[in-house]
Amino acid sequence: MLSWAGMQWGALLLAAILAAVVIVIRLVARWLLVRMVLGKAEVTIQPQRARLGEVLSIHYRQPIKQSRRLERFVLSLICREWVQYTRGTKTYHDRYEVTAAPHVVLENSELTAGGQLASQLTMQVPPGAMHSVRFKHNRVEWAVRSEIRILRYPRYTQEWPIDVLPLLVPPGTAAEGRV
């Protein structure tokens, strides 16, 4: 006869297996999205090493392989704090993210096979922000992120890191950005 504790362990095991299956399904769906619906994104960011207050020029192109309904395509500039800490013998990570310049490129549109997702836009690194730092336990990271939502597919995101320097663009010299 199965004990109460045994049943609890069984339920836990079942939940873990289900969670693993869901993760695998999501990963496969994401892979399918990239391989079957969209081609590889080509992104140019200028400059790669930006100063605080600097306007970045972003050129994004991604071929469309299959026609689908696009819910949303957003390009944004993100700043992420990443920390590592130890409690006892375990190591943990935490992160906090700020989206500095979200830009909705397309919304509720039809993607046509043979076409491409394309955008050319500018984003400004906020002048009062923190520059990139990379220490052993503490980091501040900057990246351009694309977020694509296609009907009946999981959200697909990609990031391209940039390096933000502890230098300010002198006032009046930066081009006006779409922030």
Binding site: V133, F135, V140
Partner: protein
């Protein structure tokens, strides 16, 4: 017991406002004076001054000494002594930061390593700010 008073006077930074007196941009040189006043002779291993930063917040601490200068060692006679110092801030920063998970704190620390007796230290908080890209500023003003 170490008898005497250790102190640090930091020259004002490049900004004229009094509230920015202890602010410097990256790449700047922080200057000032360390003083030691004692009625007795003091034997020391070293007297150093350094600019250093550390992180605080959720993550484990990262820290580094950005610049260090040894000002004296050996026997210090009684009386008041003053040593000028100049320490350069690194161009790569980090700048002083108050974030959500991370804080970056800078300080200037004078440390008197006494040969026979307790050591003494004196710290002054400093604020490090981003610098203007002067190359481009010069080009824009030309």
């Amino acid at each position: 017991m170490t008898e005497g008073q250790l102190a640090v006077e930091v020259d004002p930074g490049p900004w004229p406002e009094p509230e920015h007196a202890h602010c410097w941009p990256v790449r700047a040189t922080v200057t000032g004076m360390v003083s030691w006043d004692s009625p007795k002779p003091t034997k020391i291993r070293s007297l150093t001054v350094e600019l250093r930063w550390r992180t605080e917040g959720r993550g484990d601490t990262d820290q580094a000494s950005a610049a260090r200068q040894e000002l004296a060692k050996g026997q210090l006679p009684p009386g008041q002594h003053r040593w000028p110092f100049q320490l350069a801030l690194p161009p790569e920063g980090p700048i002083t930061y108050e974030g959500h998970l991370i804080r970056i704190i800078w300080e200037l620390r004078a440390f008197l390593d006494v040969a026979r007796g307790p050591d003494l230290e004196f710290t002054v908080p400093v604020t490090v700010l981003p610098d203007y890209d002067l190359g481009q500023l010069a080009a824009a003003l030309a």
